[in-house]
Subunit: 214 residues, 2 copies
DNA sequence: TTGTAAATCACTGAATTCTGTGAGGTTTTT
DNA sequence: AAAAACCTCACAGAATTCAGTGATTTACAA
């Protein structure tokens, strides 16, 4: 294990960045700390310095957000540790982060001791997720079990996607060059498969399962 | 002008609070700094210490948010300076803060130098608003009614929430003990306010804006 | 080859949503 | 005190969705 590690911290709130910088410089085995206010800047820094060990990043940032940055970094520099420091604690965000193999996820509600601990853990190869994050993730895993075996057909997905754009059955039928009756049948089957009573359920399903790209 | 001023800083992100504390202790004419993680705690501190000169507060906080706290403090302790430190830069929020006579509004995008400068200015009786805040406010003054910001009424939120549970208008009316016609009117207005063509749009809005807790 | 799933279409009737318009009382803001 | 926003209710017709049933064709797999 190295004695000095070099970091990049990214957050578009400069003031928060200043605070983080202060907190992390208190750690003895931390060497250089580079600061960035958006994702692209992080990539430039990684290009410039080839001795970076850990990237700590917020999610909401201009130009390139933390999730996208995470993907990019993990693909291009698989050996670099990456963890998310965000105030977002919703299920969907957490899912994305876990899916993309982040080494950690800390909420900004945490105090600086937890942050320091997390940094040290991640640097030594462990993972560190906030308690709340873990709970949310468990919950989502449980929820997913309920509709994981749900598979929509290709056509049903197309219909659902257009439905998400607030089109009526008639409008969808015109877009897909099929009969309104057919669209209605597809919708019926979508409700059946997703266990929904109304279109509302189908919309929630679509969002939960990524059939809808906002 | 006093030589030492005492502050209270309030933010529910403990880590941010730590950072702020560090930054502000660098100022020479700052004396005691009290920390709080919600609005009610600030009120308790004000009750306990009668030598506080300035409160710096975030907006999003549990128990009592920054706006409400601002009102309360300004009413009860008109001589105490108060400024908002938030990441919210939407027109509506800014309007409220300006209306309620805050001594300043700084965005978390600012750097620590601006924060220090702002603190000193406010302590010496001036106001300090971030450039962006001023711009947003100006814009809102000109645009007046063109508020693109969507705010649902309390009742509308209730209806939307039940709608998200796949209830029909009839079922919602039974839950809220109101007429079906009323529910329909609320739904009508929800579609209007959110600019939706169908319920699908309302559902997407609900999810995007956290009106739906999965 | 037989079966299963998918995609297509049709018909009906009931239920629900959407659109439009109006209106009276309450609460909040200005 | 006046204005604006909110909550309530009503009616009505058009449009849409939902539920149930059944059927043909294709495609892929057991």
């Amino acid at each position: 294990m190295k004695s000095k590690f070099n970091l990049i911290i990214a957050d578009d709130h400069v003031m928060f960045l200043d605070g983080l910088h202060g907190i992390l410089s208190e750690l003895e085995n931390v060497g250089e700390i580079h600061l960035a206010t958006d994702g692209q800047q992080v990539l430039r820094l990684l290009n410039q310095f080839n001795n970076v060990d850990l990237v700590i990043s917020d999610i909401n940032m201009p130009k390139m957000d933390g999730i996208e940055l995470l993907s990019t970094v993990k693909k291009k520099y698989p050996e670099i540790k990456f963890f998310i420091l965000s105030m977002l604690d919703d299920v969907r965000t957490i899912n994305k982060v876990v899916q993309k193999q982040a080494d950690g996820y800390i909420l900004k509600f945490a105090d600086k001791e937890e942050l320091k601990k997390a940094v040290l853990e991640v640097l030594s190869g462990e993972q560190h997720y906030s308690q709340k994050v873990k709970e949310s993730y468990m919950q989502s895993v449980f929820e997913r079990k309920q509709n994981s075996h749900v598979e929509l057909s290709k056509r049903e997905k197309e219909v659902l996607k257009l439905l998400m754009e607030e089109l009526s059955s008639k409008e969808i039928s015109e877009k897909l060059f099929i009969s309104v009756n057919t669209v209605e049948t597809h919708r019926k089957n979508i409700l059946l498969k997703t266990g929904s009573k109304t279109t509302v359920g189908a919309v929630k399903f679509a969002i939960d399962n990524g059939y809808y790209s906002e």
